[in-house]
Symmetry: C2
Subunit: 214 residues, 2 copies
Amino acid sequence: MSPLSRERVLRAAVAVADERGLNALTIRSLAQELGVKPMTVYHYVATKEEILDGIVESVFGEIELPVPGRDWREELRKRAVSARAVFRRHPWALALLESRTQPGPASLRHHDATIGTLRLAGFSVVMTAHAYALLDSYVYGFALQEAALPFEGPDAAASVAEPIMETFPDDEYSHLAELAREHIMRPGYDFADEFEFGLDAVLDALARMRHGSP
Amino acid sequence: MSPLSRERVLRAAVAVADERGLNALTIRSLAQELGVKPMTVYHYVATKEEILDGIVESVFGEIELPVPGRDWREELRKRAVSARAVFRRHPWALALLESRTQPGPASLRHHDATIGTLRLAGFSVVMTAHAYALLDSYVYGFALQEAALPFEGPDAAASVAEPIMETFPDDEYSHLAELAREHIMRPGYDFADEFEFGLDAVLDALARMRHGSP
DNA sequence: AACGCTACCGTACTAAGTACGACGCCACCA
DNA sequence: TGGTGGCGTCGTACTTAGTACGGTAGCGTT
């Protein structure tokens, strides 16, 4: 238990958000998780905003850093897979990205390692910016879609798609119906499997950019 | 003014969110925008959740639909550019994606048109799923990053980056510092310009996937 | 002995979402 | 003509948030 600390407050906040969602993260629920009264929390953080900033920063800290100088493709792949896993563990973090302004040390270190990996791989400064934007857009966007899905895991899609499909005749939205019928609702389908396929396509694109025009 | 309606309620909700952010969208602020008292709103929607679902659906309706059968690349490009513009107008919509479950007709039409475009372009069912996931991940992710940026437009980055850069010595985060110094903070830099570059790389990737393995 | 610091808490104010029960107006029928 | 029922609107009040303000108890310093 120890005398509480900013760190413990943030760790508890992450735990509450993971278990019960961002909406359930209130000063009161956080205080309860910590075994103290609400106002006590305010001795370690100034506002709730600061808590939100803090937990996003701590989530960034969980992402595995790429090592500049090693095989760039392997390092960036590792980072992307790790980031996606982290956002899957903490889906609420994506919704918080918008509200943040000041990056903390974990974010800065993260950016520096990724940029360094691209630079040492031979990407020009301008190409590094292009590559980074493309790669992160893909990772964030995939994580966002995954978080937005109302189901998770193999075969879960079918039970969600079924009732939706029944709200309209088969000839309306026929392409959508076909995809659902012949792929999404088939046993074994898991949206999560799309990640690595798209990631490799993006990494291929980066490889081609590496020596392209500025 | 007319006797109010669900449509007008949703339009007003979008306006409030656009102008003052998602947090400022409350039943009270919405009622004020409509010129009525709070409880009146509840004659057109059951809960605030329904309002949130409704405005996301209306945002989806703003995205230009691709036309299946025409040049696939051009159609998908048009749709992506339009989607990105829509999310830029309504950045709050991205944060709402996670909370939605039941897609409305606008979303269904949208998905159907996009899937149809891919299918008629010769993508197999499985490849269509791959391609769609990749393309939308990129678009959503880019939009999310753009929404998270604390600045907007050319040259705005410098004034934001400057104070951050000064919080650490130049030799810490040296790669990040280099990129900032030699690119981001240079006059004329605009993150928005990255979009089309990455989009074309993604479309190239799709073109290669078109006749690839399943 | 007085002071002040650290960790914590009680009370209360304000802003939200929304349940519940009215109230005024109008079309329609007797 | 007078009722009557429904529709759009609203007043009041309850509940759950964030958090300002002002404590209090325990302990070390001078």
